[in-house]
């Protein structure tokens, strides 16, 4: 392996987080963040597909001709997406129903294509596997943090467990509307940016000395 696992971990979850830093895969991140269960399910489905497609494309990287590589990637990715779609329909039909269109749309999700193009097609199998795993987990982390806020304030629950009711609070219906998805994601992204900037500022002088 070319890179240590910790580098993949830091890259995927924070420094190159696909949603907060690279702004990839926004469609699904906005759409399925209505409840934590949906966010978690979508994140894990994405992670599984990302790992499979990264490993496969990395294995085939010397066989795929450069001119038709995007078409080849899409065929590989859509195969795995179809498999995951059918598995979800068979074993977790409720999740499949609430994620709906966004499972087949993983095919055109820019995160997967971007990792295939930028990482898996240039690196070894093990590196690609860990890259897929941690990029997927980074995406899951982003989805969970947005959906946690939206579910808590929109329905007053977390994982379907009522939190607001015992406290005598009313949920805000606004957090169930599409508009709140954009605004919540915007605010969370700003928060992540502020935190990473602060951490970087704290680290910077040490390096200079």
């Amino acid at each position: 392996m070319k890179y240590p696992i910790t580098k993949h971990l830091k890259d995927g979850l924070l420094e190159n987080n696909p949603v907060f830093v690279q702004f990839l895969g926004m469609c699904s991140a906005l759409a399925v963040s209505t409840s934590v269960i949906n966010g978690l399910g979508m994140g894990l489905a994405m992670t599984a597909i990302l790992i499979c497609s990264n490993v496969f494309i990395s294995l085939l990287r010397k066989l795929i001709p450069n001119e038709v590589r995007i078409a080849c990637y899409i065929v590989v990715i859509s195969t795995f997406v179809t498999a995951v779609d059918l598995l979800l329909k068979a074993y977790i039909p409720s999740l499949s129903a609430s994620l709906g269109l966004f499972i087949p749309l993983i095919v055109v999700n820019c995160i997967i294509l971007a990792r295939a193009e930028a990482f898996a097609s240039k690196n070894g199998v093990l590196d690609s596997l860990f890259d897929g795993l941690f990029m997927g987990l980074g995406y899951t982390f982003a989805l969970i943090s947005v959906s946690l806020i939206r579910e808590l304030f929109g329905s007053g629950t977390i994982f379907g467990i009522p939190v607001f009711d015992p406290l005598g609070l009313q949920p805000l219906l606004f957090f169930q509307t599409p508009a709140s998805a954009f605004i919540t994601l915007g605010v969370v992204t700003a928060l992540v940016k502020a935190i990473t900037n602060r951490v970087r500022a704290r680290k910077a002088p040490k390096i200079k000395i």
Binding site: M26, C27, L99, F182, G186, T189
Partner: protein, 199 residues
């Protein structure tokens, strides 16, 4: 199939269930190329062109090939291949026969393959409509909805350049919040109908 039905499909696809603001399809190009109105318009036109034709073709393929042989589980793979080939063909066709349009849309065409609005429109049409005409009208109207949304937002972003948000909100966060405010305006059309799920 009457005209009123088609108009209803078109109206709800453009305004009530706008692709960007209520279905979240095509958000990546929406955020990516809405920097100025003229590129936004070019992207919107190219998307309209591709979605209309791809809906016509994917619906036909679903009815004529996938359904008779019970291959519906291959929908995703078949449609994305059709779309990729279609975009490539369109590019070649426009270059050869309609150079004016090619120069206007040229750089946006290759980006469209991975625009989830195209595959989304194809899958939604197959799921909810029964005739080719309905599916094509739905595709065209959804794409017009995308065009309207991206044009409005390009106007908003032109103003946003002069705004001075807190440092960590600069760039994408404030853009997302502006998009949220646009989405709020659009949710007025649906009367915030929460009984109906957006999926």
């Amino acid at each position: 199939m009457d005209l009123a039905n088609l108009l209803l499909i078109a109206f709800s696809a453009i305004i009530v269930e706008n692709f960007i603001f209520s279905r979240f399809l095509g958000v990546c190009p929406f955020l990516g190329v809405s920097n100025n109105p003229s590129t936004a318009f070019g992207m919107g036109l190219a998307v309209t062109f591709v979605i209309t034709i791809s809906n016509l073709m994917t619906f036909g393929i679903n009815e004529l090939i996938l359904k008779p042989y019970r291959l519906e589980f291959l929908q995703t793979i078949a449609f994305i291949l059709v779309i990729a080939v279609l975009v490539q063909l369109l590019e070649m066709f426009l270059k050869r026969f309609v150079p004016v349009l090619y120069h206007a849309l040229g750089i946006y065409l290759p980006l469209i393959t991975t625009n989830c609005a195209v595959l989304g429109a194809a899958l939604l049409a197959v799921e909810s409509y029964t005739s080719v005409l309905e599916a094509t009208v739905f595709g065209f109207a959804s794409a017009i909805g995308f065009l309207v949304a991206i044009l409005i937002f390009a106007g908003v972003r032109e103003r946003l350049v002069f705004a001075d948000p807190p440092k960590s909100f600069g760039g994408m966060p404030i853009t997302l919040i502006a998009a949220g405010l646009c989405a709020m305006a659009f949710s007025g059309f649906s009367g915030i109908d929460l009984t109906k799920s957006i999926f």
